[in-house]
Homo-oligomer: 352 residues x 4
């Protein structure tokens, strides 16, 4: 493996890891076009994230194979949550695969886990460049990640739909969206959808305050409310006993975590008819928004430029109108949680 | 109350009952415009379905108040599942309200329950015309009901989204759609979305056959599958033990009925990673499709014509390209279940 | 070529002719799946409509090649307006190609022109079955054709968008939609979009009446109006001089036919600021609606059944909830124009 | 009028000027909610941009009146292009109106023209805060303006639709989008839509180079191409004679400017069948994207905070993830044209 700057053609590997999201295919396509058209590079795709690197499962990629994938969600490379550092001899096997294919640069498209692995492998000499994606938008050092805009758009459209049912039936509808550790989707989709209350992991909530606010609305004649909750929202200590999510026999958490609890508690405490809708996987599938297609395209081309500059261990990132490079290490050092200022400034007037 | 044919202006009541759905507002708007512009009628809206008739809760309706509601889901009149025949002196109070307002004709927009009540009240002399709506499409004597097309469109778009995740992660995704007694949404959305398997109430399924078919696909290289199930789908006797849906303390069925069971059984029996998504209320909210807007508009104007013809106890219905009238009694006599021919002809080629 | 009933496997040709529309790919996919899975047939696709039959340009079709095309607009077979009866030895060459490939049945997917050719070839012994498609919906003997529902949905969404601009700027906006000979799209999209005025080929319009109605609305406080016009709408004789559409040097009609004329006349006569938007090709592209996907799938499977029944010269057609067969000759005998009753019943209450 | 910092309640005026766009209503709603709920302010809306200020045409605004406007395009205040500095005694009349209503702060939502006027009035002592909106995104000092994201999304969806027609008919389709002076919409929608060629005002184009590139694609087997052109794109000097846009008798430019010219020239020079579609007003109407709803909400609340800080002559602006303040004078000093680096980096790999 070489880590020097290349003017000439390179052999570039690319993989997508972690949960799938809209925008991965446009990123792959951009990497391939930039490599092939601009630099004459050869591109090898690794299947199913790090699993393909460990197990040497590849597919050749060229402009022709990427035709028509721009509007398609998901990833033609497949993805997995496999972590080489939790697999026997994972890192060694990964490095051996990369050497076997004479990979000059590896472009890893993923979130905290995928890029964390990339950074560790880089410490062992693998020439890595990262592209940030996660619908949760909780990766540091970039304004935004691939997939977030589409997820917010889908969730906001769903909330638009829930309003008319809430109003027709005078109900409280709780909408549970993704976000285990950060409330970005909940906050953006909640603002965009005109939610009455937004619950996020960063701000433990008091269920009785939620109920009080709903009672206040009812007393002023608004009988329909939408509560948007991130899946990771938590009650403030001592305010609501929530048992650990039940696991079924396969070790899956049962559907209906916090959203179901909130809907039931609201109905029990206020007497208002309440329902829950859990958006689930539709937030991460389907055609990417125009914003995500452009972002992914810019990230893909910029990552190839970084590779040809030999600028390893960098992640491409959006800063305002520009794509820049930041150390992967900084991006994965800690989660990017909600700006409390944003949340409070909105909260005080919209669901105050 | 009068039941004779009116050339002149009438006082017309209108209500929406049962679950809300996209298309109710266009139907209300069409009733009001036809009444006001064509006949000079006065229109009184009853709030929240039959509850507003029992409790004399009304709102005046005119062209001005209906401005802007065409593209909006839900119903500006509100709705409920209140049944006068289950309320003390319900029918008497309903009739008294109608007499108090000197209603010459009552246009009831609803499904089996709402129109069943309308028919009973008609036996007691109330001059009633019906408009069929239910997203489930299980009302007899009409090709289609208001709300069905939009529900199918939303479900099909969701299935489109699930495909990309199923493919990227090599998963089986089970998508549970509405339909307690009939598999219309599941079948139409499943066909439109390219489902691998469709489960409907009309055809009890054998879970092992489903698994066999998924194994067959896997063995031929297709590792991603979408199983669409109506919420009312049932396993064939003796093939899969399903306990009655758990009820929570409020008497709600817990989320995750048959869809969750199917996903878990598939994973347990085949070892394929499986997930479930329950579309829930987003199927019944939001802006109506163009088809539903046109259908509701035609039904609304035709219902007013029936009222002015004094053609009571009729429901407007779509037969091919034409709107015709059928007795409400026939429409509610029995559920319209899936055409087995349609289901089999599709099933044999699309999902084994 | 054989024209008898086949229990066994056949060699089936399929082509798409005329303007492309959403739903062609689902129809092709359904034909192929029904043939391959149910009957073990071999399917040959002819490229670019009748041109492929004349010039022997084919592509093999099987289930694998049709994977992923269900949600895609257009046609993987390509299309053209080539008419064998206007090509030297066209019919002879077409028949020779079909014999060369030992085609047992030819399934032609198209509108009036494509199916008209199919019918003529059938008179010369070609075993033909037809599937009706045209976004204009002007083919007789079927309730609806493939493509119409999607075109109406797209046009209605565009009209929704135009409303907000019309209202914000107090403008008249004229929206020109497709429909040279029939006003189906204009009427359905106009009703669905809440148009103020709808102009269709079937009902020549008096521009001064349009202006009077707009003046009436303005005088009652509605300063924003949407006029939807079919591209084939015509002024009543003597009411408005419209020169023949200008042709550019390539023989194309210049953009801005009747829509532009109407907008300019309205502004000149009333003084109200007016604008025109011509929807054009976006009406015929992109992912098909769920309705069109289901319709196309049912038509495709039904056409294969007709072929295996040896029921030649039939077109599959939607009659209410059922797919039936009608003679192609009847379907193409005359255009299906708007039901005047539908148009008048709506017109009298919605646009004066 | 007062220009000092207010802790207490203020009387705040708000107006929307220039072309309408999606996101104006969410901005108005946010201003009103922040004023009323957080500060107890009174809000007066001026109708139709600066015209309402000159002519003293107002509407009271409160939380109740803003209910339901979040998902609606356009502006409930109306808009116009009236410029007080081109009206007799315009500025004096505007100032008199503001004094008559005892306006403590005026929030102007608009683009270059509207904010330019705001800045001039501020020089005369009017306490002004600006909110940037223009679908063209050509306002300086902010990463993005309200309306741009929605316009790009609509245009990208339209281009998705055009692809299938281009492919089915083997055509070149030219899609003309908005952007008189800047190519932001063309570039973003073109990238998102997978355009073959993008033409923008900032980079005069040589028609023969466009044709050469299309020929190159044809020779390598791609017979369908999409050319996206901003309405303000211009041929390089000496490369293509374009006469000034024809004006009709009302002084409107005829439809079909550069897009029509390009389509005709491409067909004439290459012989490839070519068509043009002009998106027009549908780009600026309809429900705002989630991104635009969030942006408008943040801008609206931030503008009220600036008013209460007495921080006049500032425009709220997006910088990365944060909303900050910049002098209006800087924002309107010059147009924000395309980043040439972005355009070139994309152009070199995507369209030759």
């Amino acid at each position: 493996m070489s880590a020097a700057c290349h003017d000439g053609a390179m052999r570039i590997g690319v993989l997508t890891g972690g949960g799938d999201c809209p925008g991965l295919n446009p990123a792959i396509r951009a990497v391939v076009r930039k490599c092939e058209v601009r630099f004459g590079d050869e591109v090898i795709g690794f299947r199913d994230g790090w699993r393909g690197v460990i197990e040497d499962s590849t597919m050749p990629l060229d402009v022709e194979r990427c035709r028509g994938i721009l509007p398609r969600g998901g990833t033609i490379l497949g993805t997995s949550r496999t972590n080489p550092y939790r697999v026997d001899n994972g890192p060694e096997r990964a490095i051996a695969t990369l050497e076997r294919h004479a990979i000059d640069a590896l472009i890893a498209i993923g979130g905290e886990d995928t890029l964390g692995v990339a950074n560790k492998l880089a410490e062992q000499g693998v020439p890595v460049v990262g592209i940030p994606k996660t619908i949760d938008n909780d990766l540091s050092e970039t304004d935004v990640t691939i997939g977030f805009d589409t997820a917010v758009q889908i969730a906001a459209e769903a909330i638009d739909r829930l309003h008319t049912t809430a109003e027709s039936h005078h109900r409280v509808i709780v909408c549970e969206v993704m976000g285990r550790h950060a409330g970005w989707i909940a906050t953006y989709a909640g603002i965009a959808g005109g939610a009455t209350v937004i619950l996020v992991p960063e701000e433990p909530f008091a269920i009785e305050s939620v109920c009080d606010y709903l009672r206040h609305r009812h007393s002023s004649g608004s009988y329909a409310s939408i509560v948007v909750t991130a899946e990771g929202a938590k009650p403030a200590e001592g305010t609501l006993a929530i048992v650990a999510p039940e696991l079924d026999q396969f070790g899956h958490e049962r559907l209906g975590g916090i959203g179901t609890v909130v809907a039931e508690e609201v109905e029990r405490r206020t007497g208002y008819e309440s329902r829950v809708t859990i958006l689930g996987h539709i937030q991460r599938g389907g055609t990417p928004s125009a914003f995500d297609r452009v972002l992914a395209t810019r990230f893909g081309t910029a990552a190839v430029e970084a590779a040809h500059d030999g600028d390893w261990r960098q992640m491409v990132a959006l800063h305002g109108a520009h794509v820049e490079r930041v150390p992967i290490a900084d991006a994965v050092a800690k989660l990017k949680t909600l700006d409390p200022e944003l949340f409070r400034s909105v909260a005080e007037v919209f669901f105050g």
